[in-house]
């Protein structure tokens, strides 16, 4: 009823040769939406067909518009046999459903085949006419905007933040259906891609409904995950932060946003999304499988009033990591919970209830931990899973915090900016501390108490005062476990988890002190489970917060102090540690004001041990939590083994890295940036399977990866790797069959973003100019051919050279517009003027000719490049020139070298945006106008 989707197939180019005899192709296109299919004419004998089709019109419910993708299939016509498929394009039309986002999708899309990869391109034009629908019982949630960005999008204002929304849908994995035995890999892959596309569409629609119910109109920090549970099903879950009543702002033209509100005040409500747990379902249709955990985190409100969030009793969760100034009052520390579940024990795998219950349990746990820290909210919240056969570890973590209640009620505050140290002050009661910690008076205001160390999962607040620079700190850990089944296995894992958490914490603490820092931001602890080992990887950005006391040194203590040699050894080691600390202070430029007055305000801290804060839930499964928000004051006792490990850290001059959005302590960014993905897989031999051996190997792998990255990017020095996101996985063993040798495989997947910054010295001037130049090329306005007439033209004496001069321009059409991608929520030196919609794509690639494609590396390299290409094409088609908050959520790789086969699944997401360079801004209105005109035009029609 309420929508008309129109699609037009314009042309194709670079098609593959499908007819060997003529070296040409007779291509035609099928356009499918829901159950309706249209076809174009066959364009005979061409690799660059011009179909120029009529408008294919689909009249559909907006519910379908949200769930279904537009499916375009390019085929080769064959008179005598079946038509051969060349490839497909799935277009998510969700961005068109928001009046404010994109107005049409138009451009070249790579034609993708799950077996052959990209095979040519197709030019498509898509539009949607929406009719207004005031039906209050509607099932669709058109108009709700989704953002992956975990901060308030820069050209919006959050009126109010409502809180957490979560949803989860379950379906049977096509790969595990009986029919998979008889269909081709291509059909199976396509079924899977389509299903996931449908499921995420449905998920988004349902979350949208919840948001509308809460009176919001947007979801920020939208985080969607897939759980491939194998036999028990395929789960798609998402969490986000709902934000209401943005309409005040959304009515104003985006242009005005762009131009006159450089100070982004937050007007949009943040949807906090929680990743819904995936529940395996067997044959369930997609309608039946939605879950509805009502956590009473956010009361379901009538549509009228902004929900009167009394923040204190409610424990809202926020998936955001970056907040408007003044939003955070105090930060307590990291809260996390994990739980081990058995997937084959789900009574009713088709239904999401069980998984909803699991996640609810975990969220309750987190809630209570936050409460214990005296906080009423959890920020920087995220959820994740790790699955190995039937065992599944569910994890959730966040940062306990006190929020400014005014934000929850009436939105934006115009207060004078809060004191820069406010968020460091303890939220809990000094005399009733949840755990032992050293408190001192704040080093800035000297009025409130602060802890000696602060761990958080959020980004460094903009107002925070930092001494020196920050750096990436990682703790890595491997634990072997016996191979086991079912309950025994789950128990073994549960028993190991607390020790792993403890050790990771200790490592982090040591490394932090070695670097003379006192706070961690963006902490992310990933525990992945394999058949005979557990891997833990914690990454965070360390900084020296000026408000916190200076960290104490590290003292080495031996176990047997009697031995003289041993004492000597300890002494040298102590010296090395001290030297390292001094060196690091220099390196990170940490020169805090000498803390002579320390004695004045604060009681001399007595030694305390950092303690693990753990709770065990009554259920057979174990939930545990580690509180990382505190550490002990001056001395640290280290075991010998770990000392060498943490001292020998690798430092490369000219490089800085962090896993937060911006590098603390560095402010002069250039706009040159480079996003990249790196994947590595290692095979372990059986001999190394001891805890120590594994730890060493794992540490080496991570260090080597970083080293490699530095080396590759050396041309960009001085350079900063921001938002470095490490992911590890231990794939199932059967996937690598190598006779009797038992193998394990570690996959380190970093999604890293690089930023150039210019420090004051003159030497860097070149760098700056270079990057600016790069950027100049990438402005969206580029209609001229990329290659300028070559200046290298040697002057020719003869007359005939005349005609040569201009011929070097690219002959066929305009070059491809540059699309930038970044995991950050912004692009340095630019302003985002418009959000065009969320990009959420899932691809499968399979090959049966692995060797011919250059082995596993060649295969994956090509696939990742293809994924990038498809993301860029979609963004460009929406009229955008960048993807922000880009992330590769999933990268599952499987191979069978004996059969010469490999398969890979990749899920990526991000926000498509239009940006303009800041320096251009005055000049840009004409540049932007075409986009704006078309957008307002479309607004009128909707």
């Amino acid at each position: 009823m309420p929508g008309k989707l129109k699609a037009k197939i314009v042309a194709g180019r670079h098609l593959p040769v499908m007819d060997r005899a003529s070296d040409l192709t007779d291509a035609f296109v099928e356009v499918k939406f829901g159950n309706t299919t249209f076809k174009t004419d066959v364009f005979p004998k061409s690799l660059n067909p011009q179909w120029n089709s009529e408008w294919f019109k689909f009249e559909v419910d907006d519910e379908d518009l949200q769930d279904e993708p537009l499916q375009i299939t390019v085929l080769d016509h064959d008179t005598y046999s079946a038509n051969d498929a060349i490839g497909k394009v799935y277009i998510d039309i969700d961005p068109l459903l928001c009046s404010e986002a994109a107005t049409r999708i138009c451009g070249w899309f790579p034609i993708y085949d799950t077996i052959h990869g990209i095979r040519g391109e197709i030019n498509v034009l898509v539009k949607v006419d929406l009719f207004n629908d005031l039906n209050s019982f509607r099932q669709s949630s058109c108009g709700v905007k989704f953002f992956c960005t975990t901060s308030i999008p820069r050209c919006y204002r959050a009126a109010l933040v409502h809180g957490f929304v979560e949803e989860l849908v379950v379906n049977e994995d096509p790969e595990y259906q009986w029919i998979d035995r008889i269909r081709t890999p291509r059909a199976s892959n396509e079924a899977r891609q389509r299903l996931i596309s449908l499921m995420s569409g449905e998920l988004q629609r349902k979350i949208g409904l919840k948001v509308l119910e809460m009176g919001g109109n947007a979801v920020v920090g939208y985080l969607q995950c897939f759980d491939l549970e194998g036999e028990s099903g395929l789960v798609v879950r998402a969490i986000g932060t709902a934000s209401p009543n943005t309409n005040t702002h959304s009515n104003t033209a985006p242009a005005s946003n762009a131009c006159n509100s450089p100070s982004k005040d937050s007007k949009e409500t943040l949807p906090s999304s929680s990743p819904p747990p995936f529940s395996p379902s067997k044959p369930c249709s997609r309608q039946s499988s939605s879950s509805d955990t009502d956590l009473s985190l956010t009361p379901k409100m009538g549509k009228t009033s902004p929900p009167p969030h009394a923040p204190h009793p409610e424990f809202p969760f926020f998936t955001l990591t970056c907040f408007p100034p003044g939003f955070l009052v105090h930060v307590g520390g990291v809260v996390s919970a994990r739980s081990v579940k058995l997937l084959d024990r789900i009574h009713n795998p088709d239904e999401p209830e069980t998984r909803d219950a699991w996640w609810e349990e975990i969220r309750q746990e987190i809630k209570s931990h936050a409460k214990a820290l005296g906080c009423h909210a959890v920020v920087g919240y995220s959820e994740s899973t790790s699955i190995c056969e039937e065992v599944c570890i569910l994890s959730a973590s966040g940062t306990a915090a006190m929020l400014n209640p005014r934000f929850m009620r009436e939105g934006c505050l115009d207060d004078a900016s809060p004191p820069s140290c406010g968020f460091c002050h303890i939220p809990y009661d000094e005399f009733n501390m949840p755990f032992p910690a050293q408190l001192t008076y704040c080093y800035r205001c000297r009025r409130q108490k602060v802890p000696d160390v602060l761990f958080t999962t959020i980004d460094l607040p903009a107002e925070a005062a930092v001494t020196g620079k920050g750096c990436l700190i990682q703790a890595r850990l491997c634990r072997t476990k016996k191979k086991a089944q079912g309950e025994v296995n789950a128990t073994a894992i549960s028993n190991l988890l607390p020790f792993m958490e403890y050790e990771l914490h200790t490592q982090l603490m040591n490394k932090l002190k070695l670097r003379s820092m006192n706070a961690l931001f963006g902490l992310r602890i990933q525990i992945s489970v394999g058949e005979n080992m557990l891997l833990g990887l914690a990454s965070a950005t360390g900084v020296y917060l000026s408000a916190l006391p200076a960290p104490g040194g590290i003292q080495v203590a031996g176990k047997t102090p009697s031995d003289l040699n041993y004492d000597q050894h300890i002494a040298t080691m102590q010296k090395r540690i001290n030297d390292t600390i001094t060196k690091n202070k220099e390196l990170y430029n940490i020169h805090p004001p000498e803390s002579t007055e320390e004695l004045v305000g604060s009681p001399i801290p007595d030694r305390q041990r950092s303690r693990l804060f753990r709770s065990t839930s009554e259920s057979s499964d174990e939930l545990l939590e580690l509180d990382l928000s505190h550490g002990k004051k001056d001395a640290f006792v280290l075991e010998r083994g770990s000392v060498t490990m943490s001292i020998n850290m690798f430092v490369s001059s000219g490089f800085y890295s962090c896993n937060t959005e911006v590098m603390p302590g560095i402010y002069n960014w250039t706009s040159g940036l480079q996003m990249f993905t790196s994947v590595r897989v290692y095979r372990l031999s059986n001999a190394n399977l001891t805890n120590q051996g594994l730890n060493k190997i794992f540490t080496e792998l991570c260090e080597n990866l970083l080293k490699s990255l530095y080396f590759k990017l050396r041309s960009m020095i001085p350079c900063c790797l921001c938002h470095v996101n490490f992911t590890v996985a231990v794939p199932e063993e059967e996937l690598i069959q190598m006779g009797a040798v038992r193998l394990n495989c570690v996959c380190v997947c970093g999604c890293v973003f690089v930023c150039l910054f210019v420090s004051g010295s003159g030497e860097n001037e070149d760098q700056l100019q270079f990057s600016m130049e790069l950027c100049a090329d990438s402005t969206p306005s580029n209609n001229q051919p990329t290659s300028k007439p070559s200046e290298r033209c040697s002057p020719l004496p003869e007359g005939r050279s005349r005609s040569l001069r201009s011929t070097r321009s690219m002959p066929c059409g305009a070059p491809v517009a540059v699309v930038k991608m970044t995991p950050l929520s912004f692009l340095p030196g630019t302003r985002i003027v418009k959000y065009l919609g969320i990009i959420n794509m899932f691809f499968i690639r399979e090959t049966t000719s692995l060797r011919e494609e250059g082995g596993v590396s060649g295969f994956l390299h090509c696939f990742i490049a293809e994924v990038f290409a498809m993301v860029r094409a979609h963004v460009a088609a929406l009229g955008g020139n960048a993807v922000v908050s880009y992330s590769m959520k999933e990268c599952v790789f499987m191979e069978n070298p004996n059969k010469n086969q490999a398969q890979c699944l990749i899920n990526v997401s991000g926000d498509a945006v239009i940006f303009v360079r800041e320096s251009e801004q005055e000049a840009t209105p004409p540049l932007m106008s075409s986009g704006q005109i078309s957008s307002t035009g479309a607004d009128g029609t909707t």
Binding site: F676, V681, C793, S803, S857, H861
Partner: protein, 362 residues
């Protein structure tokens, strides 16, 4: 423990032009790593051999994936797979189509066929260029040849248009196509002393003045097929009329007198020139009159060397003397009252003169 998979992909494709050169040179990954170590790559960023290896492999893989696109450079600009800044695109293409003139010299004038391709290992061992690089260069020649073969319009421009090469490169490729098409003899021992650049220069002269496309503006727009690849038939026919210069005794004598008058006292080899004038003139004119036969066209360069260049060299003419002689020889013909083929004469002698001068190594 072994690394099974190691991949690095940037949104903007990162390409190191130094490694690209190593790849183009046909080195294996191992050799390239060694070469880079020798160049001191380990000193940067505290790299170790492993890092270098991984980086080199990645880069080689990227180039391999790009190679398909480089085969039709125009696609590089509008393909979607790799986001490559335009200045890098240009560099990639230029370097990919760069060739070793030693190699080109070997292949020059040969048929660009499978048979020749099989002989590449000989060329490879002779020139010291890796077989892989030889193959690339050969395939480039062949590809350009195939594309340009059936196209109308000026050769150099066609090459530039379809392969986005620089002017110099396009001109060189035009020479290669031109030689491969007419199959000029370049392999004889007596021609070994000539470099690729010498021949390329001659080719450009021939293309410029002797082909169908050379005649004038009018023809430029008529887009005759093969206009730059084949020599103009009519012109070659008209060359027969030049015979009068040697067959007519009077004219020959008069020609000699005029040239001698102009050169007397200006060149040291005057006497030898005077003695040899008739032979030289005969050689040059006979060459012209024979050019209607394909076989003789092929032998153009060997004939020039044997009949003109070698005799002069024997007599130790300097390049300056040859230049003076040829200039006067050409101009003097205008003074012959009975000689009516001035236009053809200039068109012929202009090219021959430039070729001889280029080929005359003292």
């Amino acid at each position: 423990m072994s690394m099974v998979l190691d991949v690095f992909v940037g949104n903007t494709t990162i390409m190191d032009m130094d490694i690209y050169q190593l790849w183009l040179d046909g080195l294996t990954v191992r050799e390239a790593v060694k070469a880079r170590m020798d160049q001191g790559a380990l000193l940067e960023c505290e790299a170790n051999a492993e890092v270098l290896m991984s980086d080199t492999m990645d880069q080689f893989r990227t180039f391999q994936l790009c190679e398909r696109l480089l085969h039709s450079p125009t696609k590089l600009a509008n393909q979607l797979l790799f986001q490559i800044p335009s200045q890098h695109q240009r560099m990639l293409i230029e370097k990919y189509y760069e060739f070793d003139s030693v190699f080109a010299r070997e292949v020059l004038g040969k048929k660009l066929s499978k048979g020749t391709k099989k002989d590449l290992d000989d060329i490879s061992s002779k020139t010291g260029i890796t077989l892989k690089s030889c193959r690339r260069q050969f395939d480039n020649f062949k590809r350009v040849f195939k594309v340009v073969e059936d196209l109308k319009g000026p050769l150099v421009e066609n090459i530039q248009h379809h392969f986005l090469l620089t002017d110099t490169q396009a001109r060189d490729y035009a020479a290669i196509v031109f030689f491969a098409n007419s199959r000029f003899e370049t392999g004889k021992r007596k021609l070994q002393y000539l470099s690729f650049q010498d021949f390329a220069y001659c080719a450009s002269q021939l293309i410029q003045y002797w082909t169908t496309g050379a005649v004038g503006e009018l023809h430029l727009y008529s887009m005759v097929e093969d206009m730059d690849v084949d020599l103009e038939k009519e012109f070659l026919h008209e060359l027969k009329d030049l015979k009068v210069l040697v067959n007519d005794k009077n004219m020959l004598d008069q020609h000699k007198v005029l040239v001698c008058a102009a050169l007397r006292g200006k060149i040291k080899v005057y006497r030898l020139m005077e003695a040899n004038f008739k032979n030289l003139s005969r050689a040059l004119i006979n060459l012209a009159s024979k050019l209607t036969h394909t076989k003789d066209v092929r032998d153009l360069f060997i004939d020039l060397v044997e009949k003109v260049i070698e005799p002069c060299r024997c007599d130790r003419w300097t390049l300056g003397e040859v230049t003076l002689f040829l200039t006067q020889y050409t101009n003097a013909a205008h003074g012959l009252g009975t000689f009516s083929r001035q236009v053809v004469w200039d068109r012929y002698m202009g090219v021959i003169r430039s070729c001889i001068l280029r080929m005359y190594h003292e």
